[in-house]
Amino acid sequence: MTATLPATETPAILGPAWDADAPAPDGYVKFVIDGQDVIAPKGEMVIRTCERMGIEITRFCDHPLLEPIAACRQCLVEMEMGGRKMPKPQPACAVAVADGLVVHTQRTSEVAARAQWANVEFILTNHPLDCPMCDKGGECPLQNQDLAHGPGESRFKEAKRTFVKPIAISTEILLDRDRCILCYRCTRFSEEIAGDPFIDMLGRGVRQQVGTGPEVPFQSYFSGNTIQICPVGALTSTAYRFRSRAFDLKSAPTICELCSAGCELRTDHRSGKILRRYAGENGDVNEEWNCDKGRFAFRYVTADDRLRTPLVRGANGSLAPASWTDAMTAAAAGLAKAKAAGGVGVLAGGRLTVTDAYAYGKFARVALGTNDVDFRARVHSAEELDFLARRVVGVSPKTGGVTYRGLEAAKHVLLVALEPEEECPIVFLRLRKAARRHGTQVTAVAPYASYGLHKMGGVLIPAAPGAENAAVAALAGADDPAGLRTDGAVILVGERAAEVPGLLTAVGELADETGARLAWVPRRAGERGALDAGATPTLLPGGRAVTDAAARAQVENAWGTAIPETPGRDTAGILAAAAAGELGGLLIGGVELDDLPDPAAARRAVANAGFVVSLELRPSEVTDLADVVLPVAAAPEKAGAYLDWEGRVRPFNTALKWAGGLDDARVLDTLGVEMDVDLYTQTPKSATEDLARLGAYEIPRTRTASYPPTAATPAAADGALTLASWRLLLDGSRAEDGEPHLAGTRRPASARMSPATADRLGLADGALVALSGRAGSVTLPLVVTDMVDGVVWAPGRIAGASLAAQTGARAGDGVTVAAAAPGATAAVDPDVVASEAEGRIGSVVTGMGGSK
């Protein structure tokens, strides 16, 4: 008898046409499950093969992405090998398939069925059965498997083990030890996947419990995954605890909008409010994991200050609510006037869907007649645009671009200007998996070996800001120090490379020289899509250069309008022109002025712009200065698609269907109508069709200009240090608003420098120091650590404001560091204070264990 099974990515189970007497193909084994001949790939665990055959075997500790442990003993089946029955039933999760193996699951073995039944009874003996008040009730693997395969009634009459409950193992994660069935999933995840083994088993026997070390919380960017894989309700989040029943939630698959990783998510909502977000499954992208930012930072969507109605600045100088009709009329009239008075610059922001970004780019060209459009709300350069045009735009998994799976398969990966754990956490997880499972060697060019690099077992090539060019160029040597000449080697370069003149050119040349594959990893979810959709001053959609007449003509024909043949201004150029009064107005999407390289100058520019239209979710510095504010939909309230860093299309539908927000493309389409142009971007579908009408285009990968590297920035003055900086994953960005429990898991802000540098300055580890730039200073505790000399590192955002805003300095600039004035206190993060006010880590949480 042969088994017919659903197709999988490998020919794991052969269909009826298979000749039962033929041997298994190379790399596969042939064995028997419940009387059926099956073929499975070598190394697969029996439980996986059973799954694919549709045989459900109960389990608690087993997880396909974790190493087998066989601790719960729930998946016991009978096995025979070489005609001899094994004396004891074996765990299907921990026995690999083998030629000649004969498996009898609970369907054909009384022993297996009895063992599974009895094991549920064991697991339930000390489980409190508080399902009616447990978050997991209704979606609980223990509940489900007991009802399906267990005894239902217990013979256990003794007093159950009890624990004081719950304990906060971090501000976000609560642990009810009495519910825990000690399956080791959370501890294995923390050790194997995240590399943050801050939870472990304590004690032994029936008093064994999960716990943290004294005063060491479960501070991990990935801690929320443990809640999701907990097979009971032992781990809950402060954010969700006691807020809903699983069966009252509506679920919508979505794509995470908070970075360029492109994670599959499941948004669970009720009555128009998101209650929680879970990681979705996608083996090509995030497997089954996501980061805590993606999981917990959703309260901004329903924040009290969400803009729900357009605002128009009245004669009295203040913004007042207005009808859409009035607001559109005012915006169209103002933009038309500004267009005539020097033109309008468009700052699209990096958080847009592909169709929204397309609408900004098209609106600039069609309605405003300009190429002055840029999505980059961060440090940027002309060199970067050239790099993106030559090497990034249009690249996707379909064109052979670097993918997550490619990272896993690579023997060597080089990171330049990129800290994956902070800037694209799922890339970090995949690289860590590659390093752990396949021995991938990760090398990073950075000023110090970050915690993330340590967890990947990576090698540091130390380089001060500005010195990266030389470090990168040295890697092209024939001795191949970073292994880039090996087959499948990958270079990942982050958006911060634009901070260093010549670095992107050097990275490109390194790839050309060594044959390594190259990918660009921006931080924000919308950047790759905006690049490909043409929200840039040099590129039209599909990588068509503005300066390429034929390419431009293609777009002009489709759009029915003439497009200026010279490249437009980039973000810095637009802001400078606005400040100088050269531009008549600005159209600004989701841009935080604090994120820009020079926030103070940006503030002056927006204030000085004649007429400003802002499309926003919530009040911001831009809306404060705008003449017309048009509210737009947040990501969960709209449909669309992101391009993740791979260039993979990550489409999603509306999760909160009745929120009523309009996406940017729809608002711009209507605004276009007011200005007598048609964008055809009323819906994501129509916008996608409009984009498709541009037809096929082969992107020429030619260099347009030369960008010679500049020498390392010398320290500006006596005692000055070069500033190194990047954003941390959790740093109080506006997406994290309203979630103080998440804030409590932030890594504390500190300044870092080498022992020699600290000695020179007479500073000691742990001292409070003042880091000063031309615009001011910020007080931080000092961490003396192994890193390049003459450099000080500080996070890009501290206590609610960007480092650039507080000091006027950005990475590569000279700054001074000195002991803080007596009595000074470290910059205080108000969100973290709020989270700490809710209870000490490790202490028992009383009451409902949450707030609000």
Binding site: F122, I123, E158, I181, L182, R204, G205, V206
Partner: protein
């Protein structure tokens, strides 16, 4: 190896006691190197180190020595399972985590004759081409730890350890590691985890320690008594060694007699000796009260009643009679002892020592212990007996390691062979042996 005059000679079959491992226990200051050497100590090492390691492995195979830790696996065979020498070092780990209830053979051996163990370690390490050996001793055994440590120190001073041992070019270091007092660390993979600094919990097999043991390198794990048997096999030779015991269970064995006998203690005799003979050696049953039940190999093996006194105590005959030789810890209970009470105490032990890794053992030992406590305090029911028996059945063969099997075995064999005692207790025919107050503070 040729027969050596230092090998103790006995009239095998006539002399009931055959002190091979225990022969120097009564000597003055037997734990010192000079005393040990006066009795021919380290002579076996001098012989062995002139041989090829492979010859020693073959010799051990021919001797038929079986592991003394309880499972009785052939020692030479275990040594030969190591994969070919590769880039990774090989390790010898000696299991001195003796904790099985009733078992008390390694402790006095390490106290009285630590150099015998050290010499065995050196010969074994040489035989398996290891240059690093760890003796893992249960943490509570402070005095044996000190004795073995000072023996190792003396051996270094005498050139038996360290670089270029006895001028042969062979190097070996021995580390004496004190455990933290967990029965589970007697399980070889839990012992290795504990040595590596992790929680003492058993690991999945495969990979077996021979392939990936300590620090994922090929490792042989042997019991203290096994390793201590090595020098005398080298000195006496295979033929001499095989004079003791049976064909499939050759050699001598330290039998630990405890309980209701006149002179409890360690009695070294050939394998195959019967309990009746051993009780005679121990001066008979205490106060002449007849035996009711006993364990042939510690608390983790099925109980025997008074009908098994003539079973030869070797691996195969005990198994054929329905139990296991285990650690030859003979706990002897006379007619005054209550089976449920004894089983309840063992159940408390297993509940306390279950490591917590797997559900059947963790939950099952606690469950059985709680139920047995109710029974021995007069609060049991007939249904409890069935539940207990079923619980034990559900643990046996389902737990991660053998600890659960041991916990289940004492309960199931007791109910199977002495069910009426349980019935009488729950129905009030016999008074409850304990009150609840007795159990307070009983850990």
């Amino acid at each position: 190896m040729a027969d050596d005059t230092t090998a103790p000679q006995f009239n095998v079959g006539l002399d009931p006691l055959t002190p091979v491992l225990t022969r120097s226990w009564l000597s003055p200051r037997s734990w010192r190197r000079d005393s040990y050497e006066q009795l021919g100590g380290y002579g076996a090492l001098r012989t062995a180190i002139t041989a090829q390691p492979e010859q020693l492995v073959e010799l051990m195979k021919s001797s038929g020595l079986r592991g003394r830790g309880g499972a009785g696996f052939p020692t030479g065979l275990k040594w030969s399972f190591l994969p070919p020498l590769g880039a990774k070092p090989r390790y010898l780990v000696v299991n001195g985590d003796e904790s099985e209830p009733g078992t008390c053979k390694d402790i006095p051996l390490m106290m009285a004759d630590p150099h015998l163990l050290v010499e065995g370690c050196i010969i074994t390490s040489y035989a398996i081409r290891s240059h690093y050996c760890v003796i893992y001793i249960r943490g509570e055994l402070i005095h044996p730890i000190r004795r073995v440590r000072s023996a190792v120190k003396e051996a270094y001073a005498a050139g038996y350890l360290g670089k270029n041992i006895l001028g042969t070019g062979y190097d070996l270091d021995i580390v004496v590691h004190a455990g933290a007092g967990a029965y589970i660390c007697g399980e070889e993979t839990a012992l290795l985890s504990s040595l590596e600094g992790f929680r003492g919990q058993p690991r999945l097999k495969p990979p077996f320690p021979a392939v990936e043991g300590l620090y994922a390198a090929p490792t042989v794990v042997n019991n203290v008594e096994t390793i201590a048997s090595v020098p005398s096999i080298i000195s006496g030779g295979v033929d001499w060694y095989r004079k003791f015991g049976t064909d499939k269970s050759p050699g001598t064995k330290i039998f630990s007699l405890s309980g209701h006998v006149e002179r409890p203690g360690q009695y070294e005799a050939p394998l195959g000796t019967t309990l009746r003979q051993l009780i005679d050696l121990a001066g008979g049953m205490k106060d002449g009260i007849p035996i009711k039940f006993w364990t042939p190999g510690g608390s983790s093996v099925p109980l025997f009643g008074d009908d098994k006194l003539d079973v030869p105590l070797d691996y195969d005959d005990v198994a054929a009679a329905g139990s296991l030789l285990g650690t030859t810890a003979l706990q002897i209970f006379n007619q005054t002892a209550s089976v449920p009470w004894a089983v309840a105490r063992w159940a408390d032990f297993y509940r306390h020592e279950s490591c917590g890794k797997c559900a059947p053992c963790r939950e099952g030992t606690a469950w059985m212990s709680k139920t047995l406590r109710r029974i021995i305090t007069g609060r049991g029911t007939l249904e409890d007996i069935d539940t207990l028996e079923d619980t034990a059945h559900n643990i046996f063969g389902r737990a991660f390691c053998a600890l659960g099997d041991g916990a289940a075995t004492s309960v199931s064999s007791a109910i199977q062979r002495f069910r009426q005692e349980f019935v009488d207790m729950v129905t009030g025919v016999t008074p409850a042996p304990s009150t609840q107050a007795d159990l307070i503070e009983m850990h």
